[in-house]
């Protein structure tokens, strides 16, 4: 599992995370909800080593191995440990093909044959990507691009997958399909940390949730419990205003 202990992160002049502590248990889907600017993206960037905390600790404890302290490792090293970040806004390599995007997801792997097998697996998981394998990633529709972003992240064989707003800008139907895919991944044993503005959908599929406000965790607990929390309902689910 992943554990953040009293993590402080600065971006520019001010702090964006004020002593955040949270846990992502193995095999579960953990949702992190909150408004714009609450620090959700910064938190993911810190986990993947792109931002550095100035206080606090970040521990990764994979099954049957020694815990590793992530907050001192390079992004490359963190990817090698199986912690994979699927960034906000998809961030595809737009002028490169679907196929090349997938290969880049497996950039740190050297087992060429297994990588090809995983590409085939992605085309089973997302058949539309198989049909469009020679197309430029930038020419795909929004939903297809999100699928490609997730597939690219899966190519790295994640043990923990960090997802930043995968439903952003998608039609509701397409968003539902993406959420279904996340449940499928959890069933396959991938641990997930999902950042979402769509709190309702996120808390519906998650096992556990955290609510972030102004860089602080203000609520946490089993997702079911959060869904019935009056404060969460009022602020994020639009119930009982």
């Amino acid at each position: 599992m992943l554990r953040l202990a009293e993590l402080w992160v600065r971006r520019g002049a001010g702090a964006v995370l004020h002593g955040v502590s949270l846990e992502v248990p193995r095999g579960e889907l953990t949702a992190l909800v909150g408004a714009n600017g609450a620090g959700k993206t910064s938190l993911l960037l810190t986990i993947s080593g792109i931002l550095r905390p100035h206080r606090g600790e970040l521990w990764w404890n994979p099954e049957g191995e020694e815990p590793v302290r992530l907050d001192r490792l390079s992004p490359k090293r963190i990817v090698e440990l199986g912690v994979i970040h699927c960034p906000e806004g998809r961030q595809l390599f737009a002028s490169m093909t679907v196929y090349d995007n997938l290969l880049l997801g497996a950039h740190q792997r050297r087992d060429r044959r297994a990588v090809e097998r995983d590409v085939a697996r992605m085309f089973t998981l997302f058949p539309i990507l198989g049909e469009r394998r020679r197309q430029r990633a930038g020419s795909l529709s929004g939903g297809e691009q999100t699928m490609l972003a997730i597939a690219r992240a899966l190519m790295a064989r994640p043990r923990l997958l960090l997802l930043d707003e995968p439903s952003l800008g998608l039609a509701p139907q397409m968003a539902d399909r993406i959420f279904e895919t996340l449940l499928e991944l959890r069933a396959q044993g991938v641990t997930l940390l999902l950042v979402e503005q769509n709190a309702r959908a996120a808390l519906e599929i998650a096992d556990r949730g955290y609510v972030l406000e102004g860089g602080r965790v203000v609520r946490s607990g089993p997702a079911q419990q959060l869904r019935s929390d009056p404060m969460v309902q009022r602020a994020y689910l639009g119930i009982g205003a």
Binding site: I50, V79, S95, L103, Q108
Partner: protein, 359 residues
């Protein structure tokens, strides 16, 4: 395998051209051919440094100067070293090197310089590298001018042994082309193009951006160093200002006209620009309009950026060189260059070239 055959054919055709020019045409044509080939090698290597990675280095002339002087000093006849280079340490003053080791040391010296510059400058974002490498050209020239006990300063070094012939240059171009092609079509080349396109995404898939940038920069410098060395043994003279800012500009233009990331494009643009400059020289002299060719190259660049900003080839290579595996089907497990150059993309769609120099 079709791609490999096409490459072999191209190499043979070029060899035939070299042989033909040597047999049938004047020594002027032979030298011209060698210099054009040298420009091809320089432009193609700069395509790896700048085109694939999105860096903007202007440093090639500085590395060529370093390479040229290092190789000239190493190979200079011992009996004349005493009065030409009085400050040389005895080890160097009493030895006269052969071409190949001298060129290798020249490439190494340029690469080391690039490593030092790259380690300090590549950590900065934006166009700092362009400014730093522009400065490097001036720093190197000033050093060469003032270390006159080694270099004869502003007088330049003449009488450098002519150890290079068109065939050496030919072998060099083929080698550089081979290395660059392999780099572009490896997983590292793919990662370079990925970080050019989207650095954040590249980093989050585990691409070590700094290491790849450093590699591309040092590789380009090594090629430039070797090219400088080979050129000095071709023309037998080198002066501190022989390779300066105009050359840096010309090489960058070749990369942009060819298309960022396209080796074929850079090679073709190098031939076109070099031949055009040479063809315009008599015109410049008769009209007394010196600098005309540079002005025309600049106009060509502006037109290119206005009407075809992705360059002649975009990031791609012609299908013939890439081989037959363009048409889907990934039954082969070996990495195929075709995968970076889909036919599905029509020639009209512009790949984004966010770092194309627009100055």
């Amino acid at each position: 395998m079709r791609g490999a055959a096409a490459h072999l054919l191209l190499a043979l055709a070029l060899a035939a051209l070299v042989a033909l020019v040597q047999r049938a045409l004047s020594p002027y044509a032979v030298t011209l051919l060698s210099l054009v080939l040298m420009q091809v090698a320089l432009a193609v290597s700069l395509q790896v440094t700048n085109g694939l990675t999105g860096l903007f280095s202007l440093g090639h002339p500085a590395f060529m100067t370093v390479g040229a002087y290092v190789s000239a000093i190493l190979t200079y006849p011992v009996r004349r070293k005493g009065f030409m280079m009085p400050d040389l340490p005895p080890v160097l003053a009493e030895s006269e090197w052969a071409l190949v080791p001298a060129v290798l040391v020249a490439a190494l010296a340029a690469a080391l310089l690039a490593l030092v510059v790259g380690l300090s400058v590549l950590r900065l974002k934006g166009h700092y590298l362009a400014v730093a490498t522009l400065g490097l050209i001036i720093v190197v020239r000033t050093l060469v001018n003032n270390l006159d006990g080694y270099t004869r300063g502003g007088l330049g070094l003449s009488g450098v042994p002519r150890l290079t012939d068109p065939w050496t240059v030919y072998a060099f171009v083929v080698l550089v082309w081979y290395l660059c092609w392999r780099i572009k079509h490896s997983s590292y080349g793919r990662a370079m193009m990925a970080m050019r396109e989207n650095e954040l995404a590249a980093r989050s898939t585990g691409v070590d951006v700094l290491a790849l940038q450093l590699f591309a920069f040092v590789f380009g410098a090594a090629v430039a160093g070797a090219a400088g060395a080979l050129t000095v043994h071709l023309v037998s003279v080198v002066t501190p200002g022989a390779y300066g800012i105009p050359l840096a500009f010309t090489l960058v233009v070749m990369v942009v006209i060819g298309g960022q990331g396209s080796l074929t494009g850079a090679a073709l643009a190098a031939v076109l620009v070099a031949l055009a400059s040479e063809a315009l020289r008599p015109l410049e002299e008769s009209l007394e309009l010196y600098g005309l060719s540079q002005a025309l190259v600049a106009v060509a660049l502006l037109l290119m950026l206005r009407f075809r900003p992705q360059g002649l080839f975009g990031s791609r290579e012609p299908g013939l060189l890439v081989g037959g595996s363009n048409l889907g089907g990934s039954s082969s497990a070996c990495p195929s260059p075709a995968r970076t150059t889909p036919r599905a993309v029509s020639a009209g769609t512009a790949p984004s070239t966010p770092d194309a120099p627009r100055s």
